[in-house]
Symmetry: C2
Subunit: 220 residues, 2 copies
DNA sequence: TTGATATCGTGAAAAGATTCACCGGAGTTG
DNA sequence: CAACTCCGGTGAATCTTTTCACGATATCAA
């Protein structure tokens, strides 16, 4: 029953899709649904059903041939992709955005826990409005080590984002979600950065829309 | 001097990179820098220099052979990708996240304007704390038509996200930035959705980190 | 002007991701 | 227990994207 033996490398886009699928399955499970078909998933995710089947087939252990059992599929994805390994995160920058993001109001899954918040403004770390512990920046390494945190969120202003990113990496953080509108230089293949770049999203949409329009015009 | 004639189709990932590059160039320009090399850009964006050169070469009109003039490159990208076409956006959901995102605190580029905010809670649209006009949901179509808005931001709770997305699309919106933690069904190729999915980002990082670790273990 | 150096631009090769098409197993029906 | 239908699984074909390698062009110094 070779499980780890032939664990192949999954295309990155497939990882991203499966990660999203996982959240979808969580939602469906909460709604009380128990089975789902590839075609249905595809519709919900906006991708063709064969893409879904292929993605799932990379896991090499899923279905029985007739639909997917939601809880089971969810667990297989979590296990295969290692979701259960790194559940703790910390956040640097307790301004308004940082506070909103980490408030348990449904904008982040309760599967993960943001266990520590940092800011170098003492005022910001006084307010006990959050569900997590707040610390000054000087405690960064201590807390990350103690809590074994591997994921960091950056919500500091532009000017200090890069510095903070480097500090996090030095403290052993392996994954960063960056909300600050600045690009972070990465030159280590063992650290992953997800830039959530609101200004960039506008540009991307703008470009996609007008590229689509051009295509239409050319085609006619 | 055929410009539009041989306008080729640019790979989507290249569009996304160029869109990000644009924001980088804005930053650099603001810092007073005037020239930049592909290697430098690559370092800042975390991609190899040849990828940058290739991306820029899709534009077919850029360099002189020795570095890029920042302002010029910026303008070429904007022109080619149509950034100057759709600058107006609206936002639905004036809760805390919606308010933070649209506050001019540096989290979104001043190149775009969120000109209207909607909410169906009359309380939320009373506070004059924002820089934009606020309306009840009933005015959606009227305002979108009048202002010729093509981009919409969704910051409503999970339960109504899908409904809101459909309403926006019905009103003629062509690009959506969705912050709600729910997947939106799209079955129109003329509407583009960018899901900013915080819970999903955690999963993705978690998966990338553990996939990396597996690779390391296998390789040794 | 000439040579040396640095950097871009791009066609072609390689790698990577998606789509296709068909096989086979699981339910279902009579 | 066939026969039929519906789906998932997956190798192979196709399509897309990235990487490579090298010719061409600009810059600078002497």
């Amino acid at each position: 029953m070779k499980k780890d033996m032939d664990r192949m490398i999954i295309p990155k886009p497939a990882i991203v899709r499966l990660s999203t699928l996982y959240v979808l399955l969580e939602n469906l499970e909460a709604e009380g649904k128990s089975m789902i078909y590839s075609a249905e998933i595809g519709k919900l995710l906006g991708v063709p059903s064969h893409t879904i089947r292929k993605d799932i087939s990379f896991l090499r252990q899923a279905g029985t041939g007739n639909g997917y059992e939601i809880t089971n599929l969810k667990n297989i994805i979590a296990e295969y992709l290692g979701f259960n390994k790194y559940k703790k995160a910390c956040i640097v920058g307790m301004g308004r955005l940082g506070t909103v993001i980490t408030t348990k109001n449904g904008f982040y899954s309760n599967q993960y826990a943001v266990v520590a918040g940092f800011d170098n403004n003492p005022e910001k770390i006084k307010k006990g409005r959050n569900d997590m512990d707040l610390y000054p920046m000087s405690k960064l390494k201590e807390v990350i080590d103690r809590e074994q945190i591997k994921i960091g969120i950056i919500t500091v202003p532009q000017s200090s984002a890069r510095k903070v990113a480097n500090e996090l990496i030095d403290c052993g953080i392996k994954g960063i979600i960056n909300f600050s509108p600045v690009l972070i230089e990465i030159n280590r293949e063992d650290v992953f950065i997800r830039n959530i770049f609101i200004a960039g999203e506008f540009n991307i949409l703008s470009a996609l829309i007008s590229q689509y329009e051009n295509k239409q015009t050319l085609g006619e």
